[in-house]
């Protein structure tokens, strides 16, 4: 009986761990709990002490050294007589550099004989053979340096630590751009190391006014970011705006540039991206040379470039490397593809449902013949196929390796054909949706591709509701919405609307010789 009773009980299983339903109080109607009052801002920690023992114990406490075994504390005698301590994180710092240029150099007897008062400064100047070394007494800075893979040396009697760049963590090498492939042009792409990324930019922009400002990203995971620009030409108000938005970032975690993009954009509901996210250093450098500002984030193999316009999102770096006639053709095809992708399903639905008189007899009879046994309503058929297309697309991306390609082929050919044979969809609608889908892939920017899907869906609904009336008004509203948006103060459709000066057309490619002025809408300080 006891076992039976246990079997029939519906009590909460005590063994199961519960995390969510442990808060006190009544939840809100739509879920969640009222925001807890923010904790008062913590007082800044006291600076480093001149006592090595105190510093060591503080660091061990802060880094949970007893359980955090990858934080290394190495005591040594500086110059054979002065107690010193080097602290680093195993794996983040390069052991070889520490051994060769800190410990070996520091342990030489008599190396500190000339030092009088400022031991740390003397050590930097005479002992430690590291290219980057500085002094700091700020406890936060000291901890950050350790976390970033640098090494700190604390010396008995000194209330400043020597911070040296000994970063040597494993990272991916400079690879090829996976998502922005080009046939002609450089093949390098950014990687997760911010230093490497800055180096890649500096190899292209070899001007003295190219500035890379390192700063904290504003997250509790303490990663850094770089604001890169050309100080000689960038518009100061643009730079100030970028920095102002970055300074307001205060979040729990920043993993990549996407988080920064979302935290700094103004119009979060607008589908199109308000910065250009690129993994190509050449593209980033080209924009910096035009007066744009780029933001690189530690751990992210991409850069955010701002401001951006729709025409920037629709161009690729390959446009510049191809000759003008070829570049023009590519662009025209690209724009036509984008237009077809967004407009075709809605237009087709509007004419078929509401204005069949607009179709030629041949097309109309083909549609009628193909739809004879299809059970889905016309609008639902279009939506269904759009959804299937998105499914195939996502599946093709997520499925690893060569199976991803197979999914596309299987889905496209077999599933489509099977759906037609099973009278779920008609051939004409399948062709229309497939064309629309193909058109999406001509859009170079990934975020813009996804956005096109939103607009397409909106237009399909509008066309379903009210034919060409809804379609035309939908196009007008979308066009107006895009025209009214701005990216860091620059209208999204510049230089077309508003019409700004440009010596190269927005859609067609201009001549390379005429690319002598910076883009008008970035309002650079001088023509370079």
């Amino acid at each position: 009986m006891g076992k039976l009773a246990d079997l029939l009980r519906f009590d909460h299983n005590e063994e199961e761990f519960e995390l969510l339903e442990t808060e006190q109080g009544e939840p809100g109607f739509f879920g969640g709990y009222p925001e807890e009052k923010k904790a008062k801002a913590a007082k800044p920690p006291p600076p480093a002490s001149s006592s090595l023992k105190i510093n060591e114990s503080r660091l061990k406490a802060d880094f949970y050294a007893e359980i955090n075994t990858d934080v290394l504390f190495r005591r040594f005698l500086l110059g054979g007589r002065i107690e010193a301590l080097v602290v680093c994180i195993n794996g983040m710092a390069s052991g070889q550099q520490i051994n060769d240029f800190i410990l070996r150099q520091g342990m030489r007897p008599g190396c500190m004989d000339g030092a009088k008062d400022e031991l740390a400064l003397y050590a930097i100047e005479h002992v430690f053979a590291q290219q980057e070394a500085k002094l700091s007494g700020d406890w936060g800075e000291i901890k950050t340096a350790i976390l970033q893979g640098q090494s700190i040396v604390m010396i008995e009697g000194e209330n400043q630590a020597v911070i040296m760049d000994t970063r040597g963590f494993e990272h991916r090498g400079v690879g090829t751009a996976e998502n922005e492939k080009v046939v002609r042009g450089p093949q390098e792409s950014f990687n997760e190391s911010i230093r490497t990324n800055v180096t890649l930019l500096r190899r292209i922009i070899q001007t003295e006014d190219f500035v890379c400002e390192f700063q904290k990203a504003g997250a509790k995971n303490n990663i850094s970011l770089v604001v890169a620009y050309r100080a000689g030409i960038v518009n100061q108000s643009l730079l100030d705006e970028v920095k102002k938005r970055l300074s307001k970032v205060d979040t729990r975690m920043i993993i990549g540039e996407g988080t920064i993009e979302q935290l700094t954009e103004r119009h979060s509901i607008f589908p199109l991206p308000q910065v250009l996210c690129t993994e190509r250093p050449d593209r980033t450098a080209a924009h910096i040379m035009q007066g744009h500002v780029a933001v690189l984030v530690e751990g992210s193999p991409a850069a955010n470039v701002m401001p951006v316009t729709l025409f920037t999102l629709m161009s690729t770096s390959e446009d510049a490397y191809m000759r003008r006639p070829l570049g023009m053709i590519l662009r025209v095809v690209r724009y036509l593809g984008a237009i077809i992708s967004i407009l075709l399903p809605g237009y087709f639905l509007a004419t078929c449902l509401h204005h069949p008189g607009m179709l030629s007899t041949e097309v109309l009879t083909t549609i009628i013949a193909s739809r004879q046994m299809v059970f889905l309503p016309f609008g639902a058929e279009v939506l269904f196929l759009l959804w299937v297309f998105q499914l195939l697309r996502e599946a093709g991306i997520r499925v690893p390796g060569s199976a991803g390609q197979a999914i596309g082929i299987i889905g496209g050919l077999i599933l489509g054909q099977a759906a037609v044979s099973a009278n779920m969809v008609s051939t004409v609608v399948l062709i229309v949706v497939a064309l629309s889908g193909l058109g999406t892939f001509t859009i170079p920017d990934y975020s813009t591709q996804i956005s096109a899907g939103y607009f397409r869906l909106g237009l399909v609904f509008a066309a379903w509701l009210s034919g060409l009336l809804g379609f035309a008004l939908g196009v007008l509203i979308i066009g107006g919405w895009i025209a009214s948006q701005k990216s860091y103060g620059v209208p999204f459709l510049a230089p077309v609307s508003p019409k700004t000066y440009t010596d190269r057309p927005g859609i067609l490619r201009g001549r390379v010789t005429s690319h002598s002025r910076a883009t008008d809408y970035t309002n650079t300080r001088e023509d370079v």
Partner: protein, 381 residues
Amino acid sequence: MNLKQGRIGYQEALSVVTIASVVSAVFTTDSEKLYAKGNSAWLSMLISAFIALIVFELVVYAMRVSKTQSLYAFLCYGLGKQLAAAVALLVSGMLLCCAVSLLARFTLMVGRFVFPQAGEKTILLYFMLAVLVLVYLGWEGVARTARLFLWLLVAALVGALALASYGYELHRLAPFLGDGFSSMLQNAASEVLLFLPAMVGMLIVTRGVHGMKTAGRTGYMAGLIGGIIAALCQFCVGMTYSYQDLAQMHSPMFRLTMGFKSAGYFPRLDTLLLFGWVMSAVLAACYYVYTASLMYANVFAQEDIRPNLAAFTALAGGLALLSHSGVAWLKAALDFIGRQGYALLAAPLVLCAALTIFRAKTADKNDKNKSEPSKEEEKEA
């Protein structure tokens, strides 16, 4: 301050004002009155545009001379605050009437030619939704959208005229002067209301177009282009249908494309072209609603234009719907505005301009007189 004005360039301003001017002149005419005594509309439109340009240039000159930077400031300068408020509200009302007539006419066209089974209310609500969303984007949004779609709208208009060109015959315009010069001039006078509001609207949003100079130039160009295009459209329409036919049609431009004779795709383009015009009408309505709201905000020194935008859009939609319901008082009011509206709008502006010029010239003279004795004193010294 949330007047949603922003700043736009010359091309955007010209686009939106030209669209408003052309769409009003081409599509909101009363065919019964216009073609009752022959078809001289192609001439009378040119004369109307010319008259509107004269009135506009007079006002711009007066504003320049008085150094006022907006229409409301100009009215205050010339007429005093109370009277200026009344005239400003009248101007605002006229702009709203332009929006109403556009919405009403296009609702009729779409309802009659495309969706005969749908009611006016349904169609009008779609228009209102679009107008509300677009006008909320502000002056920048409306103007930039107009610049973006300008090529499409030009193609829709020119395409219609080109498609129908096979059937143009000059004899259909005969008798060429309609019913004589006097009736032509009468028509021309009442048609001034098709051009003047769009141009005057530019003077309300001077701050949004970087000042009076651009506003003046833009309004002038819009009036000129609007007049030429409206005359061209009337000329083409007149060569396609005789005046007896035209007097029975409420939308001769749409009928222009309906008669195209061919085996290809072109005969079916009429609906597509219509929706090109629908887009331009919505943009023009947004322009009128925005300028009317801004004028109203100026009169009552409001800092937020958004309630005005919503209210004026709702008002325009409501009046457009009522106009289809055949409400007697509204019909009478619209008839009166159609006949005499040009005088209601132009007369106070001309009067204010005259007073302003006089006042400004007098003030200049006084200033000169004040400065002259000092010169004499200098000579003595």
